[in-house]
Symmetry: C3
Subunit: 465 residues, 3 copies
């Protein structure tokens, strides 16, 4: 791989020369628009304190389970990729040896784009360049211009949402918002999974802390609901625009209060079954929708991942270590109880994500094409890749048009990858629109309006930015 | 959008110049062939009486749930789109404001093609042209040449099948067939859903009427079966070629007579469960197949739509208001009981439709590639769109070839959209075949034969026209 | 169809001229590499004895259920395609009449390529050329250079794996391996389905023979397990590299020994239920994985086919007569028990196949992108066709890259089709890579390395050749 491909102005654009030329002009229209990132996992404290980035391995390898998983698949034991067991330079060497594995992957594309665009590497990665590239990136990381706040500006980020625990004080967000010297918006996101998933071993203690600190003196299920409402309000006051939910399935249920209370107490006593978990989660999704209707937080749902599939790895290295595996989901029947009551509620926004592509054309586009509340979440996780994003557009557009999509979501904790991810998304949107223009399905003038809407207006509109 | 795209001779054709040129020549081969529409929802009485079309809104907006659903999704309350609540001109204005939502959708494509080809509109739709376009279309609608019978001829329709209640007198069909001045064929289709789905609140009274009027004096389940057989014969005598079934799932079951009778009585007494509904429907699909083997009516099955998903909308505005949402289906095990007994029956034709694309390559192409009775229904409802139709061909052809498909089915109640829909289908077939030619997978001469077979011979053969 | 398309140097390559030119150069890189066929159904005895091929019908039509199924679907009764009922020439005529059905199918492509490349037919097939083509192929079959061993060399086959009964003496494999005059490798594959699937009517007697001949004197479940281990060892000693499993579903389970023994005895007594079948098969897949970890045989799993869907055809003509129909599968939860214990076992290779395309992006690529043992099986059966293979690459590469795939597997009993199938696969790999190059996602130099890896190194690595 020559370095040139990462810098090629036509990367990701369609090969047909006529279509490519249309795509180029569409891309140009949006290439300089600011980045809006309404869902991601960057730590606000890093921006508050403008913490320098650590070494290349800690920045680009160890926290990125897209990267470590594929190296692991090639036969490298997980501990060779863990900072407890290996030095940054050792980890970087392991990564450089594994670099050819990433050809054709989304991660490889983002990394290559960063190496070229952010770090200005002049060499192809590989075992021979492991040390020199480590040194080059390290040098870059020590430059004063290479701090989070400087990059935030360089990257042209306007809005960056983080993902936060409901009991988080949001002090970093507060400090950033009140810092006249910093012009970006860093918004918290309410993510109550650890207080809703009763299979989480910490659930009971989490809930206890939640009720104590925000239950207005109420106890039990009532205190629990009150505390969640209070903390959501606190998040709204600190700039949050959305509440995010990582659930097992898209199931929603409207339980009566007595039944909910019974399940809640049952779970607190430690006797809940896996089925109880699903039912309580389904009930709480209904409650979260009810609260979103009341407080205006956009509701986002991310279901369908079998978390910690390989128990030995989970036991040794914890969660988020690369073995969350998707499974089939059904939205049509599962989400219905929620939509019956809130599907047409005023200003309610519900963004539905999936790791199961089959629901794009079959369920999500039809739902988003009727319910004013429902928006199509951007292709997520294993699907936020060039071909998968094109399959998404092809699957949903003929039913739902362009107005029902959320806009791109980078969902990343890798701060330096943000521009590469948004750039890739813009290139794919340009490619898809260019094909429709080339096939005389939309006019080129209209495609120019649409790409601005997709890249800029949609996230503002859907996430109430 | 300039008006030109709707009139562009290359619309929907592939962008690659070499492939496009092949597609053009294939399209030319079939562009003037008559329209065969073996499944749709036009009202025969309109053709019998040559009823002038009403206003633009009543013709193009209010009855088309593809259109109203997307406007509703954008936040327009349903009642602003209902003739009881708004004047035609008001509805048309609402539609014109919403027009940009339809970019990239199948509905948008069909509408634009009609505006250009049928109504000769010289202006792009939008809020500023709402009144002028309303007036221009209204003027066109009042022209004597713009009546159903004249358009039937202009559109080059040879056969148009309607969808009819089993107790329909078919007087319109009879009148049309006996009108020497009219040369098109308008065929009834036997659609007994309302007499089979025991969850339909009107089922018991429907069945009572059915038995009384056609049961030959028999009562109960026997009378019911006899009456269905009799009404099918009546339809055959009036030119019907097919019986259509909108079922919840593709399940089929062979119950013994005593069990069927028990379920039937149970349902009549109002005590049936949702599971009873599925079992009785499955049993009746088996019975319908048995009758098709006997009387020759082509059997078509349309499963997998969750009807009336949003109950408040259903209660306020009734069925077919845009919130029927597809769900996953399985054909392989579900259809087996029927195919065990009738899969190789002489002259039995069974056309299987799906809203769940995943069964195209996995189940339907393999089934149609073995059973002489099984044909692949054309992509249906949310899937009768350019990209989806290409995905269908790609998914089924390598297993089942071209001979096992039903040919295009417009399934529409929008009479004026018929040419646009068939034209779009022909363009996509030409595009798919052109790619195979460009990839040297079939010869160009053979592609010319195949496109005629797909457009003209297949529907005649499969639907026994 | 002119003969030329089968010989066209650009067949199956993408239409866009720039991409095609890249694809051509990639194809050239691998066109002369030897054929590695690590999974197929050729009979080793045919190679041992260098048995002349029979007539054209027995070679190309009757044993190929891809071919007979589509002819059957067109309305030809199965018995007209059976050697018991029709002469070879009659069967060949029937086939020639049906030949246009195969346009666009994978089978048609392979056959056409054989007619051109292997048999040198100068005429297009059809009713008029039935006799002359029969004679031409017959003449070719009688040539001394047209024997299995000569073709093995002409086809440039290096390794050919067969599929064998666990009690097979492997005498043919032994003879071939010890024949200094023959340079190809013909490897047995351990396929124990008939000893594992308790629904197989011959299961009990199979198991009895197995235990008697290889149980080391042990009886019952212990003897059964011991015998399987022993026969696997025997296969390893005779060059086997893999064990193949045609299971109903991908379910795996770790039963304790007492429960397994109970189920085993229950099945022997003839009282097993369909659910017992699934549970016992799931348990045995776990055991097979355990044995593979111990003896090094690559484990391949082929689930998801509803065998013998049409019982009347099965009763009249037996298994493998064209009515095995795929159904939906789930791997994520089903394969987990096996992967919990063996997913990271040293040198364990587990190749997962599917007939349900939806699991490619959703489950298989994520699994293969984490577990060092898991490899993506090549698109199989109804999916080993040009478009389907491209969909596979598009679905898996962005998550799993290129290193996690098995390489192409022809899975065929049609010896003369082997070159056509491998050639088609190489063309599709070249097409996919060429697109990534054209889109500047990988460099052209790297694509040249990757195609060699895919075609040559991957099967050697994954199947331990």
């Amino acid at each position: 791989m020559s370095q040139s491909i990462a810098a090629h102005p036509d990367r990701l654009l369609p090969a047909d020369p006529g279509t490519r030329s249309i795509a180029r002009s569409l891309l140009e229209r949006v290439q300089d628009l600011p980045i809006l990132s309404p869902h991601g996992h960057v730590d606000a404290a890093v921006i508050e304190h403008n913490t320098p980035f650590p070494d290349p391995a800690a920045l680009l390898v160890t926290p990125d389970h897209y990267v470590t998983r594929l190296i692991h698949a090639s036969g490298v034991p997980m501990d060779r990729l863990r900072p407890e067991n290996a030095t940054p330079r050792e980890i970087w060497r392991t990564f450089c040896e594994a670099w050819p594995l990433f050809d054709g992957t989304a991660s490889g594309y983002w990394l290559r784009t960063q190496f070229d665009g952010v770090f200005g590497l002049q060499q192809e990665l590989g075992p021979e360049t492991a040390d020199s590239s480590f040194d080059a990136i390290s040098a870059r990381l020590s430059e004063p211009g290479f701090r989070p706040r400087e990059l935030f500006k360089d990257f042209n980020i306007e809005v960056l949402a983080t993902t936060d625990d409901p009991l988080d004080s949001l002090s970093s967000h507060h400090a950033i918002a009140n810092d006249a010297a910093f012009h970006g918006r860093v918004l918290p996101t309410f993510r109550p999974d650890a207080y809703i998933n009763i299979a989480n071993p910490a659930w009971a203690s989490n809930v206890e802390r939640l009720i104590e600190s925000a239950g207005d003196g109420a106890t039990g299920y009532r205190g629990y609901i009150t505390a969640l409402e209070n903390r959501r309000r606190y998040f709204v006051e600190h700039g949050a625009v959305s509440a995010d939910h990582g659930v097992r399935t898209p199931l929603t249920l409207k339980l009566d209060e007595a039944e909910a209370q019974r399940l809640f107490e049952h779970a607190l006593s430690g006797n809940a079954t896996p089925q109880d978990r699903d039912v309580f989660e389904a009930h709480m999704m209904y409650q979260m929708a009810r609260m979103s209707v009341a407080d205006g937080l956009v509701m986002t749902i991310h279901p369908g991942s079998f978390r910690n599939h390989h128990e030995p790895t989970f036991k040794a290295f914890g969660a988020d270590t690369g073995h969350d595996i998707p499974f089939a989901v059904n939205y049509t029947e599962a989400i219905r109880p929620l939509l019956q009551d809130f599907g047409t509620a005023k200003d309610f926004h519900l963004v539905l994500f999936t790791l199961d592509e089959t629901v794009f054309s079959r369920e999500l586009a039809p739902l988003a094409g009727f319910y004013p509340s429902v928006y199509l979440g951007a292709p997520w996780w294993f699907l936020d890749a060039p071909d998968a994003m094109l399959r998404f557009r092809s699957a949903v557009t003929e039913t739902a048009g362009f107005s029902r999509s959320s806009g791109f979501i980078d969902d990343t904790r890798a701060f330096c990858s943000i521009p590469a991810r948004h750039d890739a998304s813009r290139r794919i949107e340009a490619s898809f629109l260019a094909r429709l223009v080339a096939e005389h399905r939309i006019s080129e003038e209209r495609a120019h309006e649409l790409i601005v809407d997709i890249v800029d207006s949609a996230p503002r509109r859907v996430f109430k930015l």
